[in-house]
């Protein structure tokens, strides 16, 4: 785990692209007079994991939604691979090589695990409705490829045994993996994880950490999380938010010793709601 690279230097794994894969510049978001984010800037670099942490109410969820293009900032810009993003429609995210997970998982309860993941793999599908209807050979081949890719991802995450099961019958940690598999099946170059550790035991969190690390050979990851241990272990760089501002940025070691961070965390109000304007949490299982 490399935790030493300075913010300016791209990670050694970055072969081609050197600039950030996602950059937020001076982003300010207000909701009816309440400032959720104020002058926030951050950058996700190629093949790195950027952690965004902060106490509850710090603006993490708002920031996540800004990064996805679902919340348009009052001022500031979002740049994805040197291209400025405007307001995005949800379905455009996949086309930009971005995939995100949801806190509520949002699995399709009445579709098998495999089918759930195939829908995620779908952004590469090129054969349309007529092709499918007429069962063109190309359509059939594509279906097969999608299924194979979905199976491969399930295999990679160690949940291939559950391919034909339905999400409601699975334990929560497995369902979380299915949700992750679905995001990975799209073969994103940038993965946005929203509180992936919630509801996991310490062991499961360790496994998740290893998994996220192993993804960096293929993609960059932005991890929005409040579990300090996980973030410290997994991230190359960390941006710390408090009251909608960046109060610290740096490597895990730098952030850990930052007095402002310590103050923010020790002063945390327990049970505080997250920032307003969050995408409504999808009810479990998409009911």
């Amino acid at each position: 785990m490399s935790a030493t690279s300075s913010p300016a230097a791209p990670s050694p794994g970055a072969a081609s692209a050197t600039g950030p894969v996602l950059e937020l510049r001076d982003v300010t978001v207000t909701f009816g007079g309440v400032t959720a984010l104020s002058g926030v800037g951050l950058a996700v670099r190629p093949h790195q994991v950027l952690g965004v942490i902060g106490p509850n109410g710090a603006g993490k969820t708002t920031l996540f939604n800004v990064a996805c293009g679902f919340v348009t900032p009052d001022t500031g810009t979002i740049v994805r691979e040197s291209r400025e993003l405007g307001r995005l429609h949800a379905h455009q995210l996949a086309g930009l090589g971005m995939a995100r997970t949801l806190q509520g998982l949002g699995l399709f309860d009445r579709m098998s695990v495999l089918d759930n993941v195939v829908v995620g793999a779908d952004r590469h599908a090129s054969v349309g409705f007529l092709g499918s209807l007429l069962a063109l050979p190309r359509a059939a081949r594509e279906e097969r490829e999608l299924r194979e890719r979905a199976r491969a991802v399930l295999e990679e995450l160690g949940i291939a045994a559950y391919a034909d099961r339905y999400p409601p019958s699975l334990p929560y940690p497995v369902r979380k993996r299915v949700a992750l598999a679905r995001a990975l099946a799209a073969e994103p170059t940038l993965l946005l994880l929203d509180e992936p550790a919630s509801g996991l035991s310490a062991d499961e969190m360790d496994e998740l950490g290893d998994l996220v690390r192993s993804l960096t050979d293929r993609m960059s990851v932005m991890l929005v999380e409040h579990h300090m241990d996980l973030v410290m272990r997994v991230c190359d760089e960390i941006t710390v938010l408090d009251f909608g501002r960046v109060i610290a940025h740096g490597t895990p070691a730098e952030v850990r010793d930052d007095p402002a961070v310590l103050a923010a965390y020790l002063g945390e109000v327990v049970g505080d709601e997250d920032a307003p304007g969050a995408l409504p949490a999808t009810p479990e299982g998409g009911r």
Binding site: H91, R123, L133
Partner: protein, 292 residues
């Protein structure tokens, strides 16, 4: 014994048509929460298109194909033009729109196609087969009706189960928000859903019409039976719609054969009230747990 068999056979044929019509309602309801009351006049219009072609000298099959194709197009157009603008509003807006469309199509059809009864041809015999010297209540056209509905249902199952587009349609129906995040063009899936539903509705329309009389209001009773069948099946489940349609067809056939044909509509509404009272979620209750 023979009357029992005949009643069951007649009910089965009719039930197939109700099943198709119920399926058309369910396909739309489960992805949009809209009961498409205009389904019946839409099917009526496509049947009249077929009749116009047949009367102009084209074969029954050209008319048949044209009706299904017209259904596909009509469904897509209705979704794009009428339903899409009220997509973000409460579902009742769209339901009222479909009721309005019901009236408009009725009136338009009377103007364009005339308000008189016209006979619609059947491609196969409409006399019962003879088995061992006695005539049974299964006709050549009845066999075609059952076969056509079964084939279309099998194709739909194949589409939803085994194709990528079907998977995306199901994903969009279950959870639009998440489906969008995964890159599914939910709007297109809804258009496609309406188109397919209208196609199935058109099939029901042309099958009901075969060997019988059509007129702008000839489908109006079918919308009642189709709706009862769909509710019987829980409004959400395609399989439920089929089972509901068959159950209703056979039940009503028995009412007609053993009690009195004038009581059929009453019996259908009685069944509707019974189901809504005893099992509001339908025989295949899944609906209640989905609505949050």
């Amino acid at each position: 014994m023979q009357q029992l068999l005949n009643t069951a056979l007649g009910g089965l044929t009719l039930g197939m048509v109700y099943a198709a019509f119920a399926l058309a309602l369910v396909l739309i309801f489960r992805s949009t929460r809209i009961v498409n009351f205009a389904q019946a006049p839409m099917a009526m219009v496509t049947t009249f298109i077929a009749l116009t072609l047949i009367d102009a000298g084209y074969s029954y099959w050209i008319g048949f194909a044209a009706a299904l194709l017209a259904g596909l197009v009509l469904g897509a157009v209705v979704e794009r033009v009428l339903i899409r603008p009220v997509e973000d509003k409460p579902e009742i807006n769209a339901v009222i729109l479909t009721l309005g469309l019901f009236i408009v199509l009725h009136a338009l059809a009377a103007v364009v196609f005339g308000n008189a009864y016209r006979s619609f041809p059947a491609p196969f015999g409409i006399r019962g087969f003879e088995v061992g010297g006695s005539t049974i209540a299964l006709t050549g056209f009845g066999v075609f009706t059952i076969g056509a509905v079964v084939v279309v249902m099998a194709l739909l199952v194949a589409l939803f189960r085994f194709t990528d587009v079907g998977l995306r349609m199901r994903a969009a129906a279950y959870n639009q928000e998440v489906a969008r995040l995964l890159g599914v063009r939910v709007g297109r899936m809804l258009t496609l859903g309406w188109a397919l539903a209208a196609l199935v509705g058109s099939l029901a329309g042309i099958l009901i019409a075969g060997g019988s009389l059509v007129h702008p209001g000839y489908m109006d009773s079918v919308v009642v039976y189709g709706f009862v069948a769909a509710v019987l099946g829980g409004l959400e489940s395609p399989i439920g719609a089929v089972v509901g349609g068959l159950t209703l067809g056979v039940s009503l056939s028995f009412v007609s054969g053993y009690v009195g044909s004038e009581l059929v509509a009453l019996a259908a509404l009685g069944i509707l009230m019974l189901v809504l009272t005893l099992r509001p979620g339908g025989l295949f209750s899944q609906a209640a747990e989905r609505r949050v």
